[in-house]
Amino acid sequence: MYRSHILVCAGTNCHSGKSDKFIEYLDEKLLEHKLNEEVKVVKTGCFGLCAFGPVVVVYPEGIFYQMVDQAGIERIFAEHVLKGRIVDDLVYEESKKHGVIEPFEQTDFFRKQVRVALHNCGVIDPEDINEYIAVDGYQALAKVLTTMTPQQVIDEIKASGLRGRGGAGFPTGLKWSFAAAEPAGKKYICCNADEGDPGAFMDRSVLEGDPHVLIEAMAIAAYAVGADEGYKYVRAEYPLAVQRFQKALDDARAMGFLGENILGTGFSFDMHVKLGAGAFVCGEETALLTSIEGNRGEPRPRPPFPAVKGLFGKPTVLNNVETLANIPRIIMEGADWFAGMGTETSKGTKVFALGGNIVNVGLVEVPMGITLREIVEEIGGGIPSGKKFKAAQTGGPSGGCIPAKLLDTGIDYESLAQVGSMMGSGGLIVMDEDSCMVDIAKFYLDFTVDESCGKCAPCRIGTKQLLEILEKITQGQGVMEDLDTLKTLSTHIMENSLCALGQTAPNPVASTLEYFWDEYVEHVVNKKCPAGMCKDLLTYTILPDKCIGCTICARVCPVNAISGKVKEIHTIDEKCIKCGVCVDKCKFDAIIKV
């Protein structure tokens, strides 16, 4: 028995913060103090609080240590592990809020979360199959193989109301039933771990933190539809995820959860890992399957849908990582339990990667129906530096910006679509008052122009045109007709593109035009960027009544654009590159951008 567990987060973020070194150090020290049979060091997946990494949690107390460095881990060992004294100043600030140190489960960040897909992330060692088995791992597979018919499995998933978490929100049970209805023969189960949305890392965290859940879920899906072979498509830019998944695969095979005659039931299933080269379009289902086949990742028209004619022309179920991560829990806890969470049309939970101008940058899993305000203000801890909330972007390059007046929108597939955005795969980027909405639209269009595969003209040419107009506007050369052109062009691209990449690419433009029309007009008519982001529309000036001639600005200016003698008023000339360094350094608030 171990009386204490030290959990060290080894997700990509904390990992880059040297958590591997901590594990090495702790193991060495425990051995030295002959505590290696009493205290256990566990390398886990992501806890979600990435902004405060590297993260270390000590049980049984459940003390959450933040931003741990080498000196920190040495103190945690010497004080907490050896003597039971909590190292106060390293404890996660939030858990000290009420005067005493609370277990991290009770902090604002964790309290409103419901962890279904992330159930085991940050709890078990992803590289140890024994830990997965200890938390009822592979029990769901055992249950379906020994007590349920394939039809019962499909009915259970249908009844749970689970919908695809990859973006489109298609009912999972229904998708499975289509593939199951195809005549018996070769069928495939594929898992979409391409995760191309900029800023999204939900799927990576599951792969890194709980890889076995995906193997188990894919085996369950295979049993339900009558498949015997699977593919996991994951981007090569996720080396840690690939490595951990590969280890899980080897272990699962060695213990007989994959291969012939699984658990002595006669059911056989095995799978391959296929690495993608990180093209956004390869996350689209038909392009993904084409890529697995060894061809260039380009989409093809549907129908036929993959459930009928998919990988190598065979019936194929393709599900997203997070969708699959819900499956074993639904089998174990029952469809009613799952359907008890969420809204009328959207059941269960959703994982979001919280990013942008928010205090608790990280990973959260919340019940469907929770409001954006709860996520941003409570779980997310609000906007840093006392700035005001301006908009939240969901759905990545296919989504839209949701303004402050819609913060009380409850999150589900329908409500987000209604406000001109979409659920997408779970990126949630928060923007404060200093963000320019035209610039944001430009950012996403820049991305889609790069990522458009070029197969169809509306997407290839149309997105490029959108981008050029947006660039014109941010450079102060826009005219009012441009705004109309943006609108008609957007509609045209949405209606005529081959796949959902093009069909949704104008969303960032359409939604910002709708909610931030005045900001576009300000750029076009007055040649001003109200947020002060578009450099071409800004000038920096020194206020004569505030400048005391301290010369600091002139000394920090990287291009020598500022001149003036000591104790005389300084001036900025046309060499200025608008980098803003002078504003940051001026102690007298004498420099402003207008």
Partner: protein, 129 residues
């Protein structure tokens, strides 16, 4: 790694592994056995006592017991000190502990529910005189 041949084997393995992760949850209703590990406690031999508690709890496979440790309680001359906290009951403080005494306390108090009066601080415990 050995192949798991059937569901029974899987279940047996799960049950065997369960306590590997048991403490990684909020377990408010667990019985707590807390060992004083301040400098004074350590000097008086608390590490061996803590090890003994851990081993005994493991040996008896007591899933409802959390082994914890804390700092100095200002009672240095009576170290090593062990506190047994059963939810809903008065905590009992044992003094001058050693490994043999630990075995008795775990067996009689933690498992049996009956405090070992003679090891307690004043040789008496409210309600157990």
């Amino acid at each position: 790694m050995k192949k798991i041949a059937n569901v029974e084997e899987l279940n047996a393995m799960r049950d065997k592994l369960k306590d590997k992760i048991g403490i990684r949850h909020d377990v408010p209703n667990n019985i707590q056995v807390v060992v004083g590990m301040g400098t004074c406690g350590i000097a008086a031999g608390a590490p061996a006592v803590l090890s003994a508690v851990t081993k005994e709890v493991g040996r008896l496979n007591l899933q409802n017991v959390t082994v914890a440790h804390k700092g100095c309680q200002g009672n240095c001359e009576n170290e090593p000190i062990v506190e047994v906290i059963i939810p809903g009951k008065e905590p009992v403080t044992y003094v001058n502990m050693n490994s043999q005494k630990v075995t008795k306390i775990i067996g009689e108090h933690v498992v049996g529910g009956k405090p070992v009066v003679e090891y307690s601080k004043y040789g008496r415990i409210k309600g157990f005189e």
